[in-house]
Amino acid sequence: MFEILGYPDKLSLRPGERVRFMVSCEEPLDYKAELVRVQCGDDSPAGPGMKETVVPGLLGQTIRGRKQVSHIGSYMRVEPAPALDIAGDMTATLLVFPTLPDRGRQGLIGRWSDFERRGWTLAMLPDGRLEFRVGDGEREAAVATSAALMAREWYRVTARHDAGRGTLTLEQRPLKGFPAGATAARAEAPSHGIRAATADLPLLLAAEGTEEPAHPTHFFNGKLEAPRLFAGLAEDAAIDAIDAGTLAAPLAEGLAGAWDFGAGIATERADDRGPHRLHGRLVNLPTRGVTGAHWDGSVMSWPERPAHYAAVHFHEDDFADCGWEADFELALPADLPSGLYAARLTAGALAERIVFFVNAPLGKAGSPIAFLGSSATFMAYANAHYLTDNADMEMKGGFFLVLNEAARFFNERRDLGLSTYDTHLDGSGVCYSSRLRPMQSMRLTDRIWTLRADTHVTDWMSARGFSYDLVTDEAIQYDGIAALAPYRVLVTGTHPEYWTTRMWDVLVEWQARGGRIMYLGGNGFYWRTAFHPERNSVVEVRRAEIGARYWVTEAGEDYLSFSGEHGGLWRRLGRPPQGLVGIGTIATGFDKASYYRRTEASRDPRAAFIFAGVPEEIIGDFGALGGGAAGQEIDSADPRLGTPPHALVLARSEKHSRYFNVVPEETPFHHPTINGEESEHCHADLVFYEGPGGGAVFSTGSINWAASLAHGNYDNNVSRITENVLRRFADPGPFRLPGAP
């Protein structure tokens, strides 16, 4: 099932652009590549079925596939330079905050070839002690401390090679006396006249070199700060002075490199403040904007005082890019209709689809209707491992754990990276997620979630005769209002959860111009997100303050490193989603779905168009997910949070189960009645209101809504309501605010 995997180099495209496809096959095989337009990806027993159309004349070739590998684990790399070739006395010093000191050998800093056994390396031994080793390719000398470093404590670590005396010394000094004081250690050993042979070796931080210099190993888990390298023997007092920024001139002359992680926090650069400007590159996205050794709680944001955030948190499971070579590429024809497409790869019974989005040419709408491709959300989910990594999932779900083939596959393939729903091996949260890899969230043959669930909407629109363009949130991010301006109505998928400030601002601007939103999902517009400033392939999320989440940011680390903004819930940032779409997250629950009951407001003449042909009182007591249209993650109206006073709550869900729970931001303290059976607040609201500029909003407040659209061959009240709204929203006639002339 997973013999063929792949990803595109771009997710969001326009006609005329080129896209390359990176493919890996577990065993060498010939596969056929075809371009298909996707209508529906749900071929589960209860779903509408897989519906896709081959686009003739494009691709169609047979390609010999081969296995490609990816390399995870973050580190800093500085290319070889003469200033780093220190044959005599040398000092290497840095601040170390280990998080898994008993996790095998872990490199701290060095220029070392494990294969050739030459160079020098300062590393943590499998038992948490430190070792400083030099080698010339034939002989080696080493010194090790006698005490293991304590997890989650800062240490000043210094290694010296006194070539004149022929000694290696190594010191670990905890910055706090208690409880780590007992782990201070100093050791000395003869170097036997060995000089470190470092020629052509890169300087690595947080890893050690192997016989394959491009892919080091022995990754460090924890934070490192202020690595310094001297040609000479730096005294303790001088090293202390480095931290105070008062480095004495004679030592400064011997300074080979002084990397400052408090600079360029939004980037992958490691600035060298030393005289040679040997800037390093941070590989595989270690976490930046994290508290350093000098953070004292007096500031909570890195932009305010970067010196308190001059550390980098490295992890052996950090990931940025599979880096596979492209097997084939595709030039999108200028007249290719906008929509959801995939490169379908088949070999006998094997099939895999590499999905991507094609927006319309900028400024040229093919329809007044745009469907949102929630690429930021798909990236945030990517390869989420909560089912296999979190022991509480059965409690949360209210059922015994069921793992499908994909969950089991991605559980084993950690080389394909984690997601912002995961924690690293050391328990710290995963802030970054890259799309340059096969992503489970973009697979069409998997659980009904994210993209696959969204195809219930595209399927329904096609089945009901609506033509639509596709607009990605990435296009909104980078093209701004021009991405949305041609459209009259934006239809979301089931779970547009992750939004950047820019995307949010553009949506508000478009609404002010009369844009109409059909929010057909739940838990949308929830977490502030940021794209990497230099690559659109990576997003960042900080699980700050509060919210429904699987991990919590460390103290002082609430600010996004990519943007310098405070992360967390949009609700906590003064922009509750109720102000954007009338509703916001209220509860989650995954055991069974429910239905909506119409309210008196549904009889309001303003809502007559919505309920034309809908005589029922109960809405959506059916569906492919949980048997109801109100389920999984649900939203409700709240005037205190910005639901407009004239908004009509047309229907409200009821009878949710005990395994639904009101989200933490709604429950300042815990009590036993926050569940779906007993809480008065646990319900999804179906909302309509008129907006500025002749616009309007229709929101369903449930991830499950879309999974009910196809019920009864699309002939049901969820489908009729949605169709009534979409036909009216696509009509140019303006909506008028109540009371307006």
């Binding site: 071929d43 296999t388 990594d389 022991a391 409690m395 209210g398 015994f400 069921v402 793992l403 055991d591």
Partner: protein
Amino acid sequence: MYEIKPEEARLLAEFWERDPADYSLEFKRVLNRLRIEPLAGKVCILSYRDGREFALGRFGERRGDPVLPLDARRFARLKDAQWELLKLRWAKHAGHPLPPELAAR
């Protein structure tokens, strides 16, 4: 922490007699207790072919270890797999005998 009592074995009959939404609070409490266990060695349900077939599987000891089939049994219905797992969890966490009519199912 709540401990399952021997007389609560009778509650397991609800698994077959009621819709999950209608389980008694007492049975839900039993189920909650049976779900509290670490991941290492955990037995769960494996699904195949988009939920068209099921089996029981066991977690490995470490994160990322394969979750392998527990045995050769395959189930066409999720409900049957859930029942087999429920019996395993009951034996592990409750330790009390099931009524003969339930043990035989």
